[in-house]
Assembly symmetry: C2
Homo-oligomer: 347 residues x 2
């Protein structure tokens, strides 16, 4: 873990500045492409150079959660495995959206209750679902460490394969409860402020979820300044793996494209482990989960999209990819005032 | 014109409802793709059927404006023609963004001061720039009518070529002044509330623009209930042509993807001529021009993106197209709960 953290450096601010200057020479009023220009400059700063394009992969990590026994999801636990098979068969939303975005999809079984055997599912299992975080730690610190390092190794592999950006996605019945507990613990906020409807809870369900998170915080005496201990106590296998993917992105100078609330919680943990990892992150969208706004604020990230999404799977990350790719195409393909013989008003 | 208006019918609400039901059967919590689901249902309602994909074209209409003589732009008038040649050469932002979006780009000379001769520029010239709307009508009602019908004919042609969606784009030094005058007249608001920085005016420039719009409203005694007269008095050739493209989209059941403030002003005129045309419109983004918020509110359209864009050219329309296309891919390619053997919680 120490070795991984040591590899993470700040993004290249000189490249960010030179990229912004490059954009100022293009045939458009200065800064008239707004956020698109910021994204182009950030991507170049992360990569250390203006990339030729934006090759992307999306990692969808799935796992089960002991806390599902508390009745905190609208769906039964077997849906996790069913959805992983749906990912493998190509029928889920993220399959469609990743195809549309021209992104490779990597489906990871990080610890579904019953192992999902399929040639298109990568077995990186940390166990058969976590323990019930409402009564005891979800996993040991050793297991959390192992999960993080497995995620970072996946980023190493993606970097070696020529990817520029990695989108984070997840699936796991009960994982908004785990994410809510992580966010409540790390930000020191009341469970009621963090918990939302997840995949479709009614008011009673949301109240039950908040009470479960409160029990989890009481049962696990976690030090908010020890992010790995917090992750072990309140996390999930897929979340811990995504913490590692996020850290691995930063270590490999890959752009890390967050999805919604769950991947945001993973990003928050990653940022506590290595604050400089946050510079490589782009928030693809603002989800409807109330805790997500708190996460974005804590990470100081402005979402690219705001479409009322609450699906997860990496769906928001996939939807934002064409915009990120367009920002790089503008850098590489637009003419300058000089090239095109267009009068530059200089503003 | 009467014939064109008679062809415009309301979008198919039964198809909107059946499309929403189709989405509810897909393997995701109900409504968890938020706005993406609304867009899919609207596109199907406009087309009258769930389309197989989303073939798109972007029409960029360019023209010059007599009001540029009032010093209302940060750029000199010759930039209009220079940028049209940039469009033809493929070096402008809209070229890059249309390529990224897989959309055909149609560049129209609707009345640049000096005709732009290029095989990739469609000559639909209504004149060599409009008159100065600050002192007299920009064009005659006959010319405005001719421009609208030329735009509608272009939509007819695009419909015949198999396009599902048409993005609106524009270029014309001085055209935020024309758009501001149109919006102020049609919505009955003070010029100061509508006028913004355009391509880069300073505070003095914005004040000069607002004063120019006030003079235009005084010089042209326009009846806000006669949208064609308002368009002739205060519009531009490219704006009038785009009013026609918008009406032609509705007449042909094509999705009309608006860009920013200028195309919004054209959409506002189109909506006053034929209110049912608004149902075919999608607002791609919210621009930084203050008048754009007024336009979106008047049309009751929520923007898909909010990226601080203020370029025009159809750039926001191009950036939104992948999201619209993704919404249709979700409809056509996602598995249902039944297909995939996933337990449906029914919510």
């Amino acid at each position: 873990m120490r070795e991984l953290i040591a590899r993470i450096e700040p993004v290249d601010e000189a490249v960010r500045t030179s990229t912004a200057q490059l954009l100022d020479a293009k045939t458009k009023p200065r800064r008239s492409l707004g956020r698109l220009e910021d994204l182009a400059a950030q991507i170049a700063a992360v990569r250390g150079v203006v990339p030729a394009g934006l090759e992307a992969a999306i990692v969808v990590a799935a796992a089960d959660h002991g806390v599902a026994a508390e009745g905190v999801s609208a769906y039964p636990q077997e849906v996790t495995a069913q959805m992983v098979l749906n990912f493998a068969a190509g029928g889920a939303a993220i399959n469609v959206l990743a195809r549309q975005a021209g992104a490779r999809l990597i489906v990871v079984d990080a610890g579904v209750a019953v192992a999902v055997e399929h040639e298109l599912v990568r077995p990186l299992r940390l166990g058969s679902g976590t323990g019930n975080l409402a009564v005891a730690p979800a996993m040991s610190v050793d297991l959390a460490t192992k999960a993080v390092l497995a995620g970072a190794a996946l980023s190493d592999e993606l970097a070696a394969s020529g990817v520029d950006a990695v989108g984070l996605g997840e699936m796991g019945i009960g994982n908004t409860t785990s994410a809510s507990a992580l966010v409540a613990a790390l930000l020191g906020v009341e469970p009621q402020r963090v918990c939302g409807r997840g995949t479709g809870l009614d008011d009673d369900g949301v109240a039950r979820k908040a009470a479960t998170v409160a029990r989890a915080l009481a049962a696990n005496d976690v030090d908010p300044d020890d992010p790995l201990a917090v992750l072990a106590a309140l996390g999930g296998f897929e979340i811990a793996l995504l913490v590692g993917v996020a850290l691995g992105c930063a270590a490999n100078r890959l752009v890390c494209v967050l999805d919604g609330f769950i991947t945001g919680a993973a990003a928050l943990v990653a940022g506590r482990i290595a604050p400089e990892a946050i510079g490589a992150m782009i928030a693809s969208h603002r989800s409807t989960e109330p805790g997500h706004a708190l996460v974005l604020e804590a990470l100081d990230l402005a979402p690219v999209l705001d479409l009322g999404l609450r699906l997860g799977e990496g769906s928001g990350a996939a939807l934002a990819l064409p915009i990120l790719r367009a920002s790089i195409a503008v850098l590489n393909e637009m003419a300058t005032f000089g090239d095109a013989g267009v009068t530059d008003a200089g503003r």
